[in-house]
Symmetry: C3
Subunit: 222 residues, 3 copies
């Protein structure tokens, strides 16, 4: 039931497209992490650390919970380097990053959609029902941000702001649906499914930000 890297790696990564999108995703997430660290006056090391945790935390938690070793960044330390460089750039030109906040939000939304698709693909093998694919999408999509906020000692934003986890849920559900349809009818290539899921997730996130859509909150006082 536990599978080595050699077994699941090809399935996920043979799709070059997804690798490129993944790198864009971790770069964007690393930058959000660096900015969050800067808001708490952390030193350089703290900035690099929070950037790595934000970018790789979701995938790492997923692989630890699912027992899939080695983790992506252990097998590919170059991802650590990419994130550190993007964090160092953010430190040098934070106001540049903020000025292009719109671009930045786009990249973050793209990262969320890409992470969710990758998580869904990994989780699909774990349980035939597809429940783990959706769980994998959510964990991969949101845990980077959750860890970032915990290391900054504040309540994770993901539980309070615009649709974020819901987008991961949507992407995961869509990927599972396409997968099951495809096992019977083979209408779409794997790359097409990936692109559709990412496009839907990306759009859903942007619409949520634009119109301040959020889930209803649950307020409770004794």
């Amino acid at each position: 039931m536990r599978r080595g890297f050699g077994l699941h790696f090809p399935r996920i990564w043979r799709v070059k497209l997804l690798t490129i999108l993944y790198i864009i995703g971790i770069t964007a997430e690393g930058m959000t992490g660096a900015l969050a660290a800067g808001r708490h006056n952390m030193d350089w090391f703290g900035v690099l650390f929070i950037a790595c945790v934000t970018a790789l935390g979701g995938g790492s938690i997923r692989d630890v919970l699912f027992g899939m070793y080695p983790l992506t960044w252990v097998a590919h330390p170059e991802y650590l380097a990419i994130i550190c460089i993007s964090a160092l750039l953010t430190m040098k030109i934070p106001y540049f990053v903020v000025k292009f906040e719109r671009t930045f939000l786009l990249l973050d939304a793209l990262g969320l959609a890409v992470f969710s698709v990758i998580g869904a693909r990994v989780g699909l093998d774990l349980h035939p029902s597809g429940v783990m694919a959706i769980t994998g999408a959510i964990i991969t999509g949101i845990f980077g941000g959750i860890l970032r906020d915990i290391f900054c000692a504040r309540i994770p934003l993901v539980f309070q702001k615009e649709l974020y986890a819901s987008v991961a849920l949507l992407v995961g559900g869509l990927y599972v649906a396409f997968y099951f349809i495809n096992t019977h009818y083979r209408i779409l290539s794997e790359n097409s499914i990936i692109l559709i899921c990412i496009a839907v997730g990306f759009s859903a996130r942007l619409i949520a930000i634009r119109y301040h859509l959020g889930l209803p909150t649950f307020k409770f006082q004794n």
Copy 2:
């Protein structure tokens, strides 16, 4: 030393009774998680997430630390569904839950005792000394609440309130003692040992709540 699921699952779960008690436990813990999330005005997703973390966090941390894969909820996604339903019910009728706070405390105490017994059973196989059984009982019993409090950015209650971890320690120690006695004298069935340990843990927790028993605290200022 690392054992697959197929190996340790039967030993734990062939006891139907323990499964039923476990489901009661995760339902109660999911409800405490949902209420805690409501106190921090989280959205629906946050409520479900905190509920799952509270109910399943202890067992997950234990299995990750002990290297036992797959985790319970990966092999049995239906537990995720049970917890989500109980959290959604709590959101609909929070004042009902509070009104029956007494019942609720009983269920939480039962959950603690059941989780501790399960943790002790899992840990017993890891080290012949029984130390890991007690450690397993404590981790399983308390880590759900610790994670709940960390995700809500507050100091874990378990370190400050009435006897909680101590109850897990007591249950774990008792289970180990019975186990060692039983290997020599076979006086009790496995089910009897489980029931005695749960009864003792359950009572100890209720007595601690009733009389506000707690461990002495350690106050230190420079």
Copy 3:
């Protein structure tokens, strides 16, 4: 790729010296954990828990991320006992510990250096580039303190105070450098390399404390 304990344990621990230094390290870290818990008025159990997390957290996170089971304290529960005893002593005589703060800082610096060397040794086997050795050194050196601070609901000190993670980085880098030099020229015994790395790390940390050296911080406000 995943390796059992039997494989990497001898390589790390056949060096008796490192074991002795490791025990000094966890004792010192356990004491810092106990004092931090005391500052937050935790009960006895909380103090023991925070002490264990501070002393063993770094190594545990490293082994979980690297997929190396069983964890050190699962195979050697006696380390748990050593830490609990040192935490109980700290509770009895906190002012003694504070009075000898200087000695205490020395032990903590020694612990950091020792943990970093152990982490570098473990990480070296994971990736031929040596990047994982440095990552392993950093994770092992700093994660105990990070977890201690998260459980106390504050921003990890390690991101803000004098050089700490940088010392782990330095020790890890030095160990890797010596290792690569040694594969070609065999000029130094393994024990000598360990001692040099620890001495350098120890001195670097003390110099950083003495002269309040720290990394530049990154301040950012929208």
